[in-house]
Symmetry: C2
Subunit: 222 residues, 2 copies
Amino acid sequence: MEKKVDFTSKDISSRMVTRITEYLTILYEVSKYEKKINSLDLAIKMDSTAAQVRKDLSTFGEFGVRGRGYDVAKLIEILEHILGIDKKNKLILVGYGKMGSMLVSNSVVLGKGFEIVEVFDKDKEKIGQKTEGLDIIVKGSDEMDEYIRKYNINQAILAVNKEEAQAVAKQLVKSGIKGILNLTAFKIELPREIAVISVDISAKLQELNFWRRHIDINKKGE
Amino acid sequence: MEKKVDFTSKDISSRMVTRITEYLTILYEVSKYEKKINSLDLAIKMDSTAAQVRKDLSTFGEFGVRGRGYDVAKLIEILEHILGIDKKNKLILVGYGKMGSMLVSNSVVLGKGFEIVEVFDKDKEKIGQKTEGLDIIVKGSDEMDEYIRKYNINQAILAVNKEEAQAVAKQLVKSGIKGILNLTAFKIELPREIAVISVDISAKLQELNFWRRHIDINKKGE
DNA sequence: TAGATTGTTAATCGATTAACAATC
DNA sequence: TAGATTGTTAATCGATTAACAATC
């Protein structure tokens, strides 16, 4: 990467970060067929505009070549670097229920750059079990704090029952966790300096249901 | 519900629909402790503003009482009605892999108002299997079209490999499906009149990773 | 009636888009 | 050089917020 990726002083909107992940998804596909892409073609695949694409990408540096477009492989490298997935990021998984065990046995859903290094559950039946897919033995929740500190873990996937979500999240933060992927349908409240991203399939089904029924409505934005 | 819920002529932004699902998540929790809530308290729980809350809710009718606030139970009823989850919505599930079987055996993730009525897979090993959790026998993908038409299904969860996602989605639309919850990390392209909502855990992990590393950056919006 | 809080309009803010000079 | 397409500025558009009259 010759050009520097720099955004330390910039304001970044959460919308743009979401779009960066979408560019990457598309570029992985495009890379199978093309070496180059220009802002318009990428915009069409994004259901967006060429101006938006150029603006987004230029936030982090000058990665295109005037008259030529963008090099797909280089752009992938750059976006992966921006998102910090050009190296392995360690995660712990808390909650080894249906959702948790699906993630462990199906590591493809985590995508590039992430690795579950330990699994915790409070259920005595599950503690000591060897996980399917990874060579990990499920540990008890009481060992969580020690593990996080010892191995300097800073990110966790929260896949417990929603009733426990808030309490467990708080506990994780106390142990030093800085980012939580919340897979429960509970809105957890944590200090501003902790990153929380939620994935709620039931909420997404609700959105889908709304738009399926009202697709005729003037859908603004996006 | 005395007041009419009406939004046939209104422009609705996708952002607002997302917020509606978030209000609902919060109200389910609030309903355990309170009968009433005002726009400011709801806003605080949303990390939003009272004006935003009132504006959002007033889009669909007048549901509050001046000087009093909103009735929690009534608001839940209204939002459920807006999202169309005050009745059961039938879904078929396509793809009975790790993700698909997790959804079937763990129906709580679907939330209120949704029901998987049939499961399809192309894998001969899986066809004929009785699903864990539901009393459903996995059908072959070749029976999909007939089933959709016969039972008038209009919504599907797509949980196949991302390599097949586009082709299967197209096929579903051809059979009459109007809404797809896309659980693959592939951006499917379909006609404008088909509702598609995607849930991509790997993309969300990327966002989380970004914000965890750059939480100091001036995060705008949201 | 006084106090509280909604619903809504107008003002502000931020994000997207159009346009074009820069340059490969 | 001519053509293509970026990076960026200024204009537009849409979404959020402030303010307040309405009203319980």
